[in-house]
Amino acid sequence: MSLPYGSSNDDTFIETWKSAAGPFAWLRAVNNSPIGKRFLVTGFAFFLIGGIQALFMRLQLAKPENNLMSPELYNQLMSMHGSTMLFLFVVPILEGLATLLAPSMLGTRDLPFPRLTAFAYWAYLFGGVLMYSSFLLGVAPNGGWFAYVPLTGPEFSPGINMDFWLLGLELAEASGIISAFELIIAVLAMRAPGMTLGRIPVFLWAMLVASSMILFAFMTVLIASLYLELDRKLGTAFFSPELGGSTLLWQHLFWFFGHPEVYIQFLPAAGIVSMIIPVFCRQPLVSYTAVVLALVSTGVMSFGLWAHHMFTTGMPDITASFFSTMSIVVAIPTGLQFFVWIATIWRGKVIWKTPMLFVMGFMVNFLIGGLTGVMLGVAPFDWQVHDSYFVVAHFHYVLIGGVVFPLIAGFYYWMPKITGKLMGERLGRWNFWLMFVGFNVAFFPMHLAGFRGMPRRVYTYIEGIGLANYNLISTLGAFIFATGILVFVLNFLASLRQPNTDPNPWGAYSLEWATSSPPPPYAFLTLPIVKGRYPLWEQEQLDKGDEETVDMVKTLASWPLSWQAGVVTDVFTGRLREVFWLANPSYMPITLATGLAISLGAMIFDSYWLSALGLVIALIAYLVWMNPRQRPTENDKTIEEKFKRFGVAVYRYSSPTIARWSLFLTMGIALTTLGTFLFTYFFLSTNTPVWPPESAKLGGWTAAVLAQLFTVSGLVIVAWTQRYSMAGGRTKLIRHFAIASVLDFVAGGLQIWAYSQLSFSWTSHAYGSIFYLLAAFQLFMLITALVMASIALFRLNFNHDPAEQERVQVTVENARRSNYVMLACWLAIFFTLYLSPHLM
């Protein structure tokens, strides 16, 4: 029997790509396929847990004045149901699906940072476990998934419940950011030859947009939870109105995350739908471009409508009108996608398989959720139904109808690429109808309960007010829905006993269907050469193309065999640019995640020495991680020369292009952080009559001004190095970076001295809280720039290996860029803290 496309029969190659061996191998496994599967299993487990919590809540609400559980327990379940579904289920499972599928869909071998993939998983798992460990002590988070202050602040939630939530959340969200980071780079820079920007599968376009949104949105919620944790632990006053803080600050930051979060979940789901419909209609999407534009524009617009969650907080009509309009207009691109799907189905011949059934379920349910969404955008109507069961109905139509249905469709569709098996069609139909009927029976009556005055998040309701029937029906529906989920699990388990299926059982078009089911860990030995958006429909053979590309992919299939090689392609044209080394298995990702989990977990119990120990473990793990001992040795001068003639560089270390992308994204994250801090400063200043408070006296002006002069001169000196090449100007480069580092160091000293002259603390007023936080961030950015400069200096001095000069070059560039970003932060912060009070 001939091997499926992309598979190898070379023992060395297979051994190289096999997951780590040995009894504890799973602890050090990296690579997208084992880790992607873990994300899926863990995410689904959290889905089941969150679902069981929902069933208990439904039982409590089944009749009026029910005493099944205490209000405290109900509130804990309600808080954890929301937190689990939003933070531990949907986003991680979508990122996990993309982690697993992206490389094979893109026709390459892995994600850019296999170890980071593993770290993201462990951070997610430990974050979730940390949050859930609160149940063991009976102190689960009880302030809602939205954790509104001041209810969750130190005064009204003195227990440790919310600390579990905040710190677990920080770890889980950090994981989300890291996965997003990897997916962005993978989609932009690691594709099969010939896969131009316009040939990227729609699901990955959606993941690209969602991941970019995650970078901004998750940072704001991380920062908001940092403020809250500081208020709780160090007595800062970010959210204390009596000390110049603001309770609405939390709502702004939370919804600036929270609304994009909805689209972060919905866009990938829409991407799944756009992948499945063409397969089961045997027609291309009627307009790929329209769908991609719709995804991008929804992503952008979603950052401009957060305040529609705050219509009842009392805002000026003009503000409410703006957010109303935005909330209504954002439906246009979604409407566009709907009609693309309908037109595609119109043209095509429908094949009724389970994935298609779930997609149709999605279209009906999501349409209802979308229409009620537009209604909620209309501010006056929202005043009535806001925080009522109407809203509960609405967002379950959006999140279950709009996300879970496509996700289940995706599982049925891609299961051959996950386990190698097809799931049963008969059970699939039962699964669908139980879920579809159960869902509507459970959630439709909630619209009506909302109209009848039932507020959200109530653990019971009194008798005789007309709510009993609606609630009883909802409870019945919830159990029908849960039966559907149970059938899914049974169907999955049954499928595991089936033999592996063909590479392409559905007759699909995208590249993951070219490899075996399940795909080998490396996905493709010979990278496919892509000539269209629907390669498997359009191309008889995937390894045919222009001579040069064929030669390159054939060469790459034969070398290297003993180290994992990934490829970097041009962002626009998909031309091969680099072959580089993908890091091998390591215990460090799990060690780093463990260190961080210990550090955060210890903080809950105010055990700061243990917390510090956790950080030390994390730091050591990080340093070991960054210095892999097993750098590949296999090299072949002739082959490398041959690649070079094609314009492809071979690096037996990480890719310089990816290093540049990483720095770019990291600096994007740093600037988002800066933006959020500055927003906080100015938001608080406009909410307080006297800002800064009269008691707060700024000191150390001279030192602060001098510090700015030093950093600016440092920057000029660093910028000057752009003129020097690596070949001729090495000593000059070293000299410039050394001088600049000294200047920055002095600047840091001066700035710290300036801050030591301040007469106020971070506890006395929100002004002090945000002031010291900005100061800390300023110094953190300085340290980052200094570390980057030191690495550059170290490599310039000691690394003269001709094969690694590109790497040294990138280090120098990145040091220079971090210096620019650092200076931007310094000047912005100096302006804000020292100058802005005199301008307002």
Binding site: T247, I345, L367, L448, F451, G453, T460
Partner: protein, 337 residues
């Protein structure tokens, strides 16, 4: 048979549109309905809803019809070879998107117009009540003084202004029959106006999660003709009656000694506590425990000795009282009318 029919209608969701809500039975326990058109603001919002509902139904029907036709008409599979995006079905795309844009723009414009009409009542409200959200009850104030808790009367047929505050966590004031809700936010004073068109009893609740007893934080608003309202207001602002009966006098002493007075105030007596609801005219109110149980002697007794099982986690400890003392205390409280 009639009940079965009613159930069926409720299941189908028709109940709302037929207005089966029994509006006449004016009791604090009666159902409420956002669409009942009993108040000026709620009435206008109902009109908005019916506009939104008809538009949405139309869109739903058009989209689902198109989808069904698309699914069940004869289509064809794309031939092997280079895939071309098919332009013959593009009109569906253009038409659909065009209609989406038009419908949404109309909705946006309609929103502006309706917001303007709802911004302020045409007639300036003559009355302002101050509502302070507590965990988990409502303090009703008039001209700076607490005059009631969890219950207030308003004149019908004229707009009333509320100024909304909280000195603890965020709450939200919601009277579905009369108006939309507005949050009570510490450090961020809010206001709301509403009008009850007809006399009646209206049930409201807290709509923002505010802690363990968010679920039992309700209130009652009684709208009545202006003259009746003025009588109520005058009475509500008056000091408490002096205890008349012997039992009530003993009860009053128990109230002062047992610690009740540490949390509750009764105007005209030494009880000046500010933690719990004021009780000056307690027995004239319809409900207890923030509109969760009726205000009868039996329920009051149960509440005093067992408040923690009626409303677990609330701030009032269950009281340990001898049966005799409880009787005295009840006599006193029942005289506070």
């Amino acid at each position: 048979m009639a009940t079965i029919m009613m159930r069926v209608r409720q299941i189908a969701g028709i109940a709302l549109y037929l207005g089966l809500a029994n509006a006449q039975e004016a009791s604090w326990r009666s159902p409420v309905n956002v669409l009942s058109r009993k108040g000026l603001v709620a009435d206008q919002i109902s009109t908005i809803w019916w506009f939104l509902f008809s538009t949405a139904s139309l869109v739903f029907l058009v989209v689902i019809t198109l989808l069904l036709i698309a699914l069940f008409k004869k289509g064809q599979a794309v031939p092997k070879g280079p895939v071309q995006e098919n332009s013959s079905v593009r009109p569906i795309l253009y038409l659909g998107t065009g209609l989406t844009i038009i419908v949404l723009l109309i909705t946006a414009v309609y929103t502006f117009i309706s917001m303007r009409t709802l911004a302020a009542p045409s007639q300036k409200p003559a009355l302002t009540f101050e509502i302070v959200g507590k965990q988990w009850w409502w303090d009703v104030r008039y001209e700076g003084e607490s005059i009631s808790a969890n219950e207030l009367h308003i004149p019908s047929g004229e707009p009333v202004h509320f100024s909304l505050h909280s000195d603890n966590v965020i709450h939200s004031f919601w009277l579905p029959d009369l108006a939309g809700k507005r949050d009570l936010i510490p450090g961020h004073p809010n206001s709301l106006w509403l009008q009850a068109d007809e006399p009646g009893t209206y049930r409201g609740s807290c709509a923002e999660f505010c802690g363990v007893q968010h679920g039992k934080m309700n209130f009652t608003v009684i709208a009545e003709p202006r003259a009746a309202f003025e009588t109520w207001l005058e009475h509500a602002r008056a000091e408490a009656n002096a205890a008349v009966s012997e039992e009530a006098r003993v009860g009053q002493a128990i109230f002062m000694q047992q610690g009740c007075a540490g949390c509750h105030s009764i105007r005209g007596t030494a009880a000046q506590g500010e933690i719990g609801p004021e009780l000056t005219h307690l027995s004239s109110r319809l409900t207890l425990a923030a509109a969760n149980i009726p205000n009868t002697t039996g329920h009051l007794a149960a509440w005093i000795v067992d408040s923690q099982s009626i409303k677990p986690g609330n701030r009032m400890p269950s009281q340990k009282l001898s049966g005799e003392d409880l009787q005295f205390l009840l006599s006193y409280l029942m005289e506070l009318n």
